[in-house]
C-alpha cells in the first residue's frame, strides 16, 4: 500500500445521537477534527481513530481512509451512566423502568393541586437475580418552600425492596419544593425543584457512595484513620424532567428525548458543547413533551464564550409559554441580554405571584428581591445580575454552602441555612 498524501478524501462519521461528541485523531495521535452528532471532513488518506463520547462514556474505532472513496463510520448508540434507568444506559434495569412507568399512574399523595411531583430513587448497583439489601430511599424528604416536610420517602413512598427502587408520587401546588437527602455522614443536602401548572416534575435519583473519614483516634486511639461510607441518593446527578401527567403521547420519541436530555445535562455539568442545535433550530421538541431538554440546551448555549443571543431569546420566549413564571426561564432572558421582564402597559411582567421573587420594599426603582433559588446553578448567577438576594431568604442563606460540580443548584444544609429569619429586615 502506498498512499498519495496530497489528495484528501472524505471521512464521514455519524453518531446515533445528536448530543454525541465526535473526535478524529490522526496517526500521530493529534486531534484533527471534532463535531457533534455527525461530522464530514476531508483528510489525507491514512489511518485515523474516531472517538465518540456520550456523557462520560467513550468508544474508539480505528478506520482506514482510502484515497478517493474515503471512509464512513456509522456508530450505534453508546451506553452511558444515568440516574434514570433509560434503555441503553449502563445501569438500566427492567424493574427500575417498571417503577418509573408508575409516574403515569394517578398520584397517591395529595399535598395541593395544579401540578404533580414524581420522585424516584434507585440503587443502580443491584445485581440481576440477587436481592438488594440497600435502602436507597433512606433520608429523602420533600419539603415545601418554608422547609416543612410534606413527605418522607421511607414513610409515604412506595417501593420494590427486592430490586432497590422506591418512589413517591404527589399532586402538589405549583411553585418551589425542596428535595432533601440526609446523608448521615456528610450532612443534609438539598435542591430546589419548581413545579409548573399542568406539568409533572420527575426527579430520578440514583445512589452513590457518600464517604467521610473519621480522624485517627476516633474510637480506637491506636487505629489508623477510618473511612466510613454509606449509599445515599446523589442530588448532584439527578435526572429531572417535565412531563405530561399520564405519560408521553409518543413513548418511543419520549425515550429518545429523555436520553438526549440526560446527555445535554451531563454536557452542561462537564462544560461540554452537547447542545443539539439542529433540533433546537427546528423547534421540533420545544412544544412537545420535554421542555427540560430545551432549558438545558439553552444553558449549554449560554455557557459558550460567545452565545447566540438571538437563539437564547427565542428559547426563553418559547419556554416562558410552557413554564410560565419559572425562575430558570427568566434567568435565561437575563443571559440573552434582555434583562428581567420589562413593564408592559405599565404592569411589570416579573412573576411576583410565583413566590420566588418579590418587589423591592424600598420602591419600584429598587432591584427586585430574590427569595427562592432556581433549579440550575447558572440560573442563580444570572438572576443575581438583575436581583438582590432578599435578606434572610433561603437564597441568601445557601450561598456559602453550594456544592460545586453539578448543573443543579445543590447545597449542604448548615446551621446558617436552617436558621429561619426570626426578624424582619430593617
Amino acid at each position: 500500500m502506498s498512499i498519495s498524501r496530497n489528495r484528501k478524501a472524505p471521512l464521514r462519521v455519524t453518531a446515533a445521537e445528536e448530543a454525541t461528541e465526535i473526535f478524529v485523531i490522526d496517526s500521530s495521535l493529534s486531534r484533527v477534527a471534532s463535531g457533534m452528532g455527525s461530522l464530514d471532513v476531508q483528510v489525507r488518506p491514512g489511518i485515523y481513530k474516531v472517538r465518540l463520547r456520550s456523557g462520560a462514556s467513550m468508544e474508539d474505532t480505528l478506520v482506514e481512509v482510502q484515497e478517493g472513496d474515503g471512509a464512513t463510520v456509522a456508530a450505534r448508540p453508546i451506553a452511558f451512566q444515568s440516574a434514570a434507568p433509560l434503555p441503553g444506559t449502563l445501569t438500566t434495569h427492567e424493574p427500575h423502568q417498571a417503577a418509573w412507568a408508575r409516574a403515569a399512574d394517578p398520584p397517591s399523595l395529595h399535598w395541593g393541586s395544579g401540578a404533580s411531583l414524581f420522585v424516584m430513587v434507585r440503587d443502580p448497583s443491584i445485581v440481576r437475580g440477587k436481592e438488594s439489601r440497600t435502602e436507597p430511599w433512606a433520608g429523602i424528604t420533600v419539603q415545601d418552600a418554608e422547609g416543612r416536610t410534606l413527605g418522607a420517602m421511607d414513610k409515604e413512598g412506595e417501593r420494590m425492596q427486592e430490586v432497590g427502587v422506591g418512589w413517591l408520587h404527589a399532586e402538589a401546588d405549583p411553585g418551589m419544593h425542596l428535595i432533601c437527602v440526609d446523608t448521615g455522614l456528610s450532612g443534609v443536602q438539598c435542591m430546589a425543584v419548581h413545579l409548573c401548572p399542568g406539568w409533572q416534575t420527575q426527579v430520578i435519583l440514583s445512589t452513590a457512595s457518600v464517604r467521610r473519614s473519621a480522624p485517627a483516634g476516633e474510637g480506637d486511639a491506636d487505629a489508623a484513620p477510618k473511612q466510613r461510607s454509606v449509599r445515599r441518593a446523589a442530588l448532584t446527578e439527578a435526572a429531572i424532567y417535565y412531563g405530561r401527567p399520564g405519560g408521553a403521547r409518543d413513548p418511543a420519541q419520549s425515550q429518545e428525548l429523555l436520553r438526549l436530555t440526560e446527555l445535554v445535562r451531563q454536557g452542561l455539568a462537564q462544560g461540554r458543547p452537547t447542545a443539539p442545535l439542529a433540533e433546537v433550530k427546528s423547534g421540533r421538541w420545544i412544544t412537545t413533551d420535554n421542555p427540560m431538554l430545551a432549558l438545558l440546551t439553552a444553558y449549554v448555549e449560554a455557557a459558550k464564550p460567545k452565545p447566540d443571543a438571538r437563539l437564547l431569546r427565542s428559547l426563553a420566549k418559547e419556554l416562558a409559554a410552557e413554564l410560565p413564571g419559572h425562575p430558570d426561564v427568566l434567568a435565561l432572558q437575563v443571559l440573552a441580554g434582555g434583562g428581567i421582564a420589562p413593564k408592559r402597559k405599565g404592569v411589570s411582567a416579573i412573576p411576583y405571584a410565583s413566590g420566588w421573587v418579590a418587589p423591592n420594599p424600598s420602591g419600584p426603582s429598587g432591584r427586585p428581591w430574590l427569595l427562592q433559588p432556581p433549579m440550575l446553578a447558572a440560573a442563580l448567577s444570572a438572576l443575581l445580575q438583575a436581583m438582590d438576594p432578599a435578606p434572610g431568604s433561603l437564597v441568601q442563606r445557601i450561598q456559602e454552602s453550594l456544592l460545586p460540580g453539578a448543573p443543579w443548584l445543590v447545597w449542604r444544609r448548615t446551621a446558617a441555612v436552617r436558621m429561619r429569619s426570626a426578624q424582619s429586615a430593617r
Partner: protein
C-alpha cells in the same frame, strides 16, 4: 531567563484519609522536570513539598502533618521575590506548579481547584488555592509561561470555599495578556481523580500523572522534536480510556492552540521512545508480517514465530498485514506495552 517549579505531593493526611501514589507522582514529575531532555529546569529551582520531605517521623497530631499551605506560600513568595522581599518583575520564564493529593473545586462559576494540605481536618480544612496562585502569577505578569497541573479530586468537599492566598494583588495587564498558560486538572467538575497500580513495577500512581509523564516522554511531537502542550493534551485524551477505562471522565486540560507552549524538546537525533508491541496471529506460524504506518508507508517487516512477533514502534496508529493470508488489522501503539490480535 530562568524556569522555576513547586512540586507538591501529599500521601499522608491524618485528618482525612491516606493516599498511596501522590508522593510517587510528585517525585517522578520533579525528576522529569530536572532532566535536560525533559523539563530542563535547574534542580536547584525545583522546590519539593512532599510527604517524604517531612515524614517520618509520623506527626503526633493531624494538625502537625506537613506540607502545609503556609509552607507552599513561603516557597511561592521565595520564587517571586528577591532577598529583601521585593517582587521581581519578571521573576522568570516559566513557573510550573504541580500538585497531587486530595482536592476539591470551589463553588464559584470560575473553574478553580484547591489541594488540601497535609494538616487538613474536617474541622479545619486547610488547603492550597492552586488555581488562585496560578492566576495571581498570571495577572501579575511575572512569568512568560504558567503551567498548572493538579492531580486531585474535584469533589472532596470538606469545604467548598477556596481561601484567597494572602498576597497583595499585583496586576500588570500588558504583561498578563502575553502569558501563555497550560492548566491541567485530573478530574473534571465534581469528579474524582483516581490512582491505581500502573507502570512496569505496578506501583500505585495517579492515572493522570502517569499519563502526563508518558505523554511528556512519548507523545509524538513535531518533526523538529518539539513536544508542545497540545501534543501532550491530545496524547493524554487519546490514551485515557485505555488506562482509566471507557466510562471515566477524562481530565480537563486547557491550552490555547494559538498560544501553545513547548513542553519538551527531544534532539532530532534522539528517537521517540518506543512501545513494545506483540503481534499475535493464531495459526499464522512463521508467516511474514508487514507493519504500515498511518501514512501507508512500510515501517517494518518481520517473521512471526508460532504466530507471534515482538516489535518496537513509536506511539501512533498502524496497520499489520500477515503476508499471503489476507489477514490484517489496524492498531494503536501506545504506552509501554501493546498486544495486538490479528483476526
Amino acid at each position: 531567563m530562568t524556569d522555576y517549579a513547586i512540586v507538591v505531593g501529599i500521601d499522608l493526611y491524618p485528618g482525612i484519609s491516606p493516599l498511596q501514589g501522590a508522593q510517587r507522582d510528585a517525585d517522578e514529575f520533579a525528576a522529569w522536570l530536572a532532566l535536560p531532555e525533559g523539563g530542563g529546569v535547574d534542580p536547584a529551582n525545583v522546590a519539593r513539598l512532599t510527604t517524604g520531605c517531612f515524614h517520618p517521623p509520623m506527626p503526633a497530631r493531624a494538625s502537625q502533618a506537613q506540607p502545609t499551605a503556609d509552607q507552599f506560600r513561603d516557597r511561592f513568595t521565595d520564587i517571586v521575590t528577591d532577598d529583601t522581599g521585593r517582587v521581581r518583575t519578571p521573576a522568570g520564564r516559566r513557573l510550573t506548579l504541580y500538585f497531587s493529593g486530595h482536592g476539591f473545586m470551589g463553588n464559584t462559576t470560575a473553574i478553580e481547584r484547591a489541594v488540601y494540605s497535609a494538616n487538613a481536618t474536617t474541622l479545619a480544612p486547610d488547603h492550597i488555592a492552586a488555581t488562585r496562585y496560578a492566576n495571581w502569577a498570571v495577572r501579575a505578569g511575572l512569568f512568560d509561561e504558567l503551567v498548572l497541573i493538579c492531580d486531585a479530586c474535584a469533589d472532596l468537599s470538606l469545604t467548598t470555599s477556596i481561601a484567597e492566598p494572602i498576597l497583595m494583588p499585583l496586576v500588570n495587564a500588558a504583561r498578563a495578556a502575553r502569558v501563555r498558560t497550560f492548566y491541567a486538572y485530573a478530574s473534571p467538575a465534581g469528579a474524582k481523580a483516581r490512582e491505581k497500580p500502573l507502570g512496569a513495577d505496578k506501583q500505585v500512581r495517579g492515572i493522570f500523572s502517569y499519563l502526563l509523564l508518558e505523554a511528556l516522554r512519548q507523545a509524538p511531537g513535531a518533526d523538529d522534536g518539539c513536544v508542545m502542550a497540545t501534543h501532550v493534551r491530545d496524547y493524554i485524551h487519546n490514551a485515557w480510556p485505555d488506562i482509566a477505562g471507557p466510562d471515566v471522565l477524562p481530565p480537563t486540560i486547557a491550552v490555547e492552540p494559538a498560544r501553545d507552549l513547548l513542553m519538551a524538546r527531544r534532539p532530532p537525533t534522539v528517537k521517540q521512545p518506543a512501545t513494545a508491541v506483540t503481534l499475535m496471529a493464531v495459526g499464522a506460524g512463521a508467516a511474514e508480517v508487514v507493519v504500515l504506518g498511518g501514512n501507508g508507508k512500510e515501517c517494518l517487516t518481520t517473521t512471526m514465530a508460532g504466530g507471534q512477533a515482538d516489535v518496537s514502534l513509536p506511539a501512533g496508529l498502524y496497520k499489520a498485514v500477515v503476508q499471503g493470508t489476507g489477514r490484517s488489522t489496524l492498531f494503536q501503539a501506545i504506552g509501554e506495552v501493546t498486544r495486538v490480535d490479528i483476526p
